[in-house]
């Protein structure tokens, strides 16, 4: 290990250091707040450091590879995690989580490390380890709320179904290995023919990834886990881990599986339609905000596939761009939900009736986030969706785009239901006014700014476009 290797895998190293520091600090101090603040600071530093320029390169004989695009992805994930930490603080300060809060941060950080390795893996072994490292701790996190039985239920559902899915994924990998004889991306690239065995391998593998991104029909765990898990864990699942999975899947499809592009394009077409539609149809009838957002995030995943389906750098760019926007948007929405549930413990849509009268700023942020999710200008979501559609249309999938936009309209319906609840419905006992903590407000402010700036300020897109590469 020389210095250069440290530089190359800087993100992972930084995160590991942070993790260790928190571990040590946890031994040394009893005070909860210090741990919380410390981790926020560390995460902040990590995020900043992530933006320093870094050379491209490979390590461990090609097992680990990094380039500007992966760095960009990792940075995006870091930003998301930073916002999440800010949002978490107030929630985790609640007494029922005891004094020992560092587990939470440790687990989050380790999953983040896992994701980083996954993104910049050059070999399926590395990929697999990253994947599991990113999954298993989350299952523990989902069960983090020992007070609630649904939390445990969420945990068990997540761990078992993820075990099943990774089993299937591995089976697929083994088939690939058997047919190609190597698991190095570089060596496998182009070696794919669509022989039955490889098809089987690929579909199994894709199912495993579909589980992470929660594509229909591999999505069924999502809603239950989101509902059961603590809100911030749910939001972490919905944005960060989903984002990471999307990234690596795209990379793999573009680099390893490009030779069977026609096949996975059809696969993605089917997946996209099913995911959007089913996600929307379920979201229509949800009353619990977390569950509601879970299904909406499933639908969003379907939209993301529209960017993936077009193998060009444009598609990649619009996908990364969308994920970036999606992180801010969804964290905004989840942030509001979490703030409200921390303050009042209410998580149902009906509780939001008349929210605007008592908590205008929260309702406004919620509305903006929802509009951004629905893709209404001038907030960022519009641009994200528009570019996704553009890239799908770029490969001539006009009808897919049409279906997608119709779905966007359906989604607008249920997003508007929430807006209706907050702004239009009357309520004799609305949620009383409350003032959420400093960190939460910072986080929400960041989301607010992101929702506006990322869309209207085009250089961000151009920057992403510059680093993203297609097939």
């Amino acid at each position: 290990m020389n210095l250069e290797s440290f530089l190359l895998m800087r993100h992972e190293v930084m995160l590991t250091i942070a993790l260790l520091i928190i571990l040590i600090a946890e031994l040394s101090t009893e005070k909860k707040n210090s741990i919380i603040n410390l981790s926020i600071i560390l995460m902040f530093i990590t995020t900043i450091v992530g933006f320093f320029p870094v050379p491209e390169g490979t390590l461990f004989g090609g097992m680990y590879q990094t380039n500007h695009m992966t760095v960009l992805m990792k940075n995006i994930l870091n930003i998301g995690t930073l916002i999440l930490f800010l949002q978490v603080a107030e929630w985790i300060k609640q007494p029922q989580y005891g004094n020992k809060v560092s587990e939470f941060y440790l687990l989050i950080l380790s999953t983040l490390i896992g994701m980083n390795f996954m993104i910049s893996s050059g070999h399926f072994l590395m990929f697999y380890i990253g994947l599991e490292l990113a999954t298993i701790p989350i299952a523990a996190l989902a069960a983090y709320d020992r007070a609630k039985s649904i939390s445990a239920e969420a945990g068990i559902k997540l761990i078992l179904s993820s075990a099943l899915s990774s089993g299937i994924l591995l089976y697929g990998l083994s088939m690939m290995y058997g047919t190609i004889g190597s698991l190095y991306f570089t060596e496998m690239a182009g070696a794919f023919m669509s022989t039955p065995l490889q098809t089987l391998g690929f579909v199994f593998f894709f199912a495993g990834m579909g589980f992470k991104i929660s594509l229909v029909p591999f999505h069924l765990w999502t809603a239950d886990v989101y509902e059961g898990a603590p809100i911030n864990v749910a939001s972490y699942l919905s944005v960060i881990s989903k984002g990471a999975a999307v990234f690596i899947l795209a990379i793999l499809l573009y680099t390893v599986f490009y030779s069977i592009a026609p096949m996975w394009k059809n696969l993605l077409y089917v997946m996209a339609v099913m995911t959007m539609t089913v996600g929307n149809l379920f979201a229509l009838r949800q009353k619990n905000m977390k569950r509601f957002l879970a299904f909406s995030s499933i639908a969003q995943a379907g939209f993301i596939l529209l960017g993936m389906i077009d193998g060009t750098s444009m598609g990649m760019a619009s996908m990364i761009y969308f994920v970036l926007i999606y992180i801010f948007t969804n964290l905004g929405a989840f942030g509001v939900v979490s703030a409200i549930s921390v303050a009042t413990g209410k998580e149902n849509m009906d509780d939001y009736n008349g929210l605007y009268k008592t908590n205008p700023s929260l309702s406004l942020l919620m509305m903006l986030s929802l509009f951004s999710l629905a893709g209404i200008p001038p907030v960022a979501g519009f641009f994200g969706k528009f570019f996704l559609f553009t890239s799908a249309a770029n490969s001539g999938y006009y009808w897919l785009v049409f279906i997608a936009v119709i779905n966007a309209t359906i989604s607008l319906y249920y997003y508007l239901l929430v807006v209706k609840a907050m702004f239009i419905n009357n309520n004799d006992h609305p949620i009383a006014y409350f003032k959420s903590g400093f960190t939460t407000r910072i986080a929400l402010l960041m989301c607010m700014i992101g929702i506006f700036v990322i869309g209207l300020y085009s250089p961000i897109y151009e920057f992403i476009r510059m680093f993203s590469t297609g097939m």
Partner: protein, 640 residues
């Protein structure tokens, strides 16, 4: 060439008055508005008299015929490069004559109304509307192109609507106005379509170009046909439909009797003298086209006119509301004019009917205005329209009585009153052209004499009715116009129309045809005699007749149930059979289908909720089966 550009003032002054009185109404003292309105109108009248003098008697030496002069015009809007709309003034014999007619009657009505409308609420509103009407009517007659004419045509219709429903708190007045507007509007649709076709063929609106006998339209006509009939025939028939609507020709006449709900001066001005003859004027305006290109349309004009005159005259015999009697007589007289145009030829001698029609239009305006204003005076005195509640009024209303008598004699075609000459010419023209129509008109002149004198005797003689407060003669402001008009209807017959207002502007020699004149006077006398016997004194004969000829009487009394037919069409068919279904369809089919989409979506979402059963193993099952299905699907596709 004389400079006529001042004629534009004839339009602008009334318009200005309308805006002035209309905007300041409420602020300005009502009486004041009446006076300035009248003042302005008298100025306009003088202007148009001056114009008439200049045009007819001061024409530049050497010109044999009266040219069409366009002293002023400005482009209003372009449709296409060739098809553009002018606003301007066109002076030719008929328009100048109309200027005189309109301004005269309008002035009379203005003066008369000072007394008649005195103390009415909305007094100044009344004058505002009068000014608006005068403006529109004048604009109509001096229109330089058919589109301008259409514009003012609509404006006339609206001002008529506003004036008919002047007493807007009276439901009958409101519905009468509505009826008048909608019926004429329907007719105007025909007019509009006619213009569309005409302009499409000729590529111009301009009357001078359209009606020039050497012009492209008349010389070439068109090869276009629609449903086997020449497009021009369609066009001009439809245009005539517009005219028929305004002039209350059968079957578009139903609005006119109801229009009597308006204040009486309005009836005099609009529904007797000026607006209702607009149809005649329109046909006269386009006469060369009718004559040279679409003679069949002209025949239609003739027969519609003839039939209407008879039809209306018959109905008039049984009506008891004096204003309605006058209304029907108006229809019948306009029928005369239409018929005269229909039977006329073009140029010189042949243009006799044309000349006669214009002549009768002129005289009719005078005596019919007189009749209406007289009727107004009567109503003003006894506060009822029903002649059954009148009688022996000659003692109370001497002036009204005399003037009314003069008018009655005039309309009955008694020499030497004006209508004698004009009607005589019409009969002559009809006689030369179409015997059948001639005999109809011959009969009608008898019937006219009868029902007019029926009216006269019923009101001024007959039973001496007891009035709960004695009627008294109207104030000077009302009687003076009566007298002026009486004089007019006595002597306007001597105006040499054959020198002035002819089809091609060229004078021609007129010779009285005694073989027509004498019998027409005779039958008029007969009619008067019958009326004398029936109604001079209280007598049972009319009722007996009514009983013996039960059904004819009933039909005539109920105006041959035309109104009921219209009511059926509008209420039962348009409203219930078309509109209601459309509304229903829109709500329950179109809209429902839109809502249906959302309903279906929700239903599906409810159906598939079982997928999310909460059972981990079911999830696993779906997962695995999904994987396997996809695998098999793709492998399968691979080998096909």
């Amino acid at each position: 060439m004389i400079d006529f550009s001042y004629t534009v003032l004839i339009l602008l002054i009334p318009l200005f008055m309308f805006l002035l009185i209309g905007l300041t109404s409420g602020k300005m003292k009502p009486a004041l508005s009446g006076y300035i309105g009248t003042l302005a109108m008298s100025v306009v009248t003088l202007l148009s008299y001056y114009t008439a003098y200049q045009y007819f008697f001061n024409r530049p030496a050497g010109t044999e015929i009266f040219e069409k002069i366009v002293p002023f015009h400005t482009v209003w809007v372009h449709f296409t490069d060739t098809l553009y709309v002018d606003l301007g003034v066109l002076l030719d014999p008929i328009s100048v004559m109309m200027l005189v007619v309109i301004t005269t009657v309008s002035l009379m009505v203005h003066i008369y109304s000072i007394g008649y409308m005195h103390g009415e609420k909305g007094y100044s509103r009344f004058y505002a509307f009068l000014s608006l009407f005068s403006f529109s009517m004048l604009g109509l007659v001096v229109a330089t192109n058919i589109f301008q004419m259409y514009m003012f045509w609509e404006l006339v219709g609206v001002s008529s609507y506003l004036l008919i429903s002047f007493y807007y708190e009276k439901p009958t007045a409101v519905s009468a106005g509505k009826k008048a507007f909608i019926v004429t509007r329907f007719a105007d649709l025909g007019f509009l379509i006619g213009i569309l076709i005409l302009s499409y063929i000729s590529g111009t609106f301009n009357f001078v170009e359209l009606t020039d006998p050497q012009g492209a339209l008349i010389t070439q006509g068109t090869s276009l046909t629609f449903m086997g009939i020449s497009a021009l025939t369609w066009a001009l028939t439809l245009i005539f439909m517009g005219g028929a609507g305004k002039s209350a020709m059968f079957p578009l006449h139903i609005w006119l009797p109801d229009a009597m709900e308006g204040p009486t001066p309005v009836s005099a001005l609009i529904h007797a003298a000026t607006m209702v003859v607009a149809g005649v004027y329109l046909v006269a305006r386009l006469f060369p086209i009718y004559y040279f290109v679409v003679p069949d349309a002209l025949t239609i004009v003739a027969y519609v006119g003839g039939f209407t005159s008879l039809f209306a005259a018959v109905i008039a015999c049984t009506q008891t509301d004096i204003k309605r009697v006058l209304a029907f007589s108006t229809m019948s007289q306009i029928g005369y004019m239409m018929l005269a145009l229909g039977v006329s030829g073009y140029g010189g001698e042949h243009g006799l009917g044309y000349m006669a029609s214009m002549f009768h239009l002129f005289t009719h305006a005078m005596f019919k205005a007189l009749l209406f204003l007289g009727a107004g005076a009567i109503i003003h005195a006894v506060h009822t329209n029903d002649m059954n509640h009148m009688g022996g009024l000659r003692k109370y209303l001497p002036i009204t009585h005399i003037t009314f008598l003069i008018a009655t004699l005039t309309i009955s075609g008694m020499p030497p009153f004006s209508a004698y000459f004009s009607k005589d010419e019409i009969l002559v023209a009809a006689f030369e052209h179409d015997k059948f129509l001639f005999f109809i008109e011959y009969a009608v002149s008898g019937i006219t004499a009868f029902y007019m004198f029926r009216l006269y005797f019923n009101v001024f003689w007959g039973k001496s009715t007891h009035y709960h407060h004695t009627p008294h003669e109207s104030p000077l402001t009302m009687t003076v116009p009566l007298m002026i008009l009486a004089v007019a209807s006595m002597f306007t017959g001597f105006i040499p129309f054959n020198d002035l207002v002819t089809s091609n502007g060229a004078a021609f020699e007129l010779h009285t045809d005694w073989s027509v004149a004498i019998p027409s006077v005779a039958i008029g006398l007969v009619g008067i005699a019958v009326a004398w016997i029936f109604y001079k004194k209280q007598s049972a004969i009319p009722d007996k007749l009514a009983v013996t000829f039960k059904y004819p009487y009933k039909w005539s009394f109920n105006k041959f149930y035309i109104d009921e037919v219209y009511l059926f069409v509008t209420k039962k068919i348009i409203f219930n059979r078309i509109s209601a279904p459309v509304a229903w369809f829109d709500r329950h089919v179109v809209d429902a289908s839109m809502n249906g989409i959302s309903w279906v979506t929700n239903a599906i979402s409810d159906q598939i909720k079982g997928l999310q059963s909460g059972q981990l193993q079911k999830y696993g099952f779906v997962f695995v089966s999904g994987v396997l299905i996809l695998t098999f699907a793709f492998v399968y596709f691979l080998f096909n």
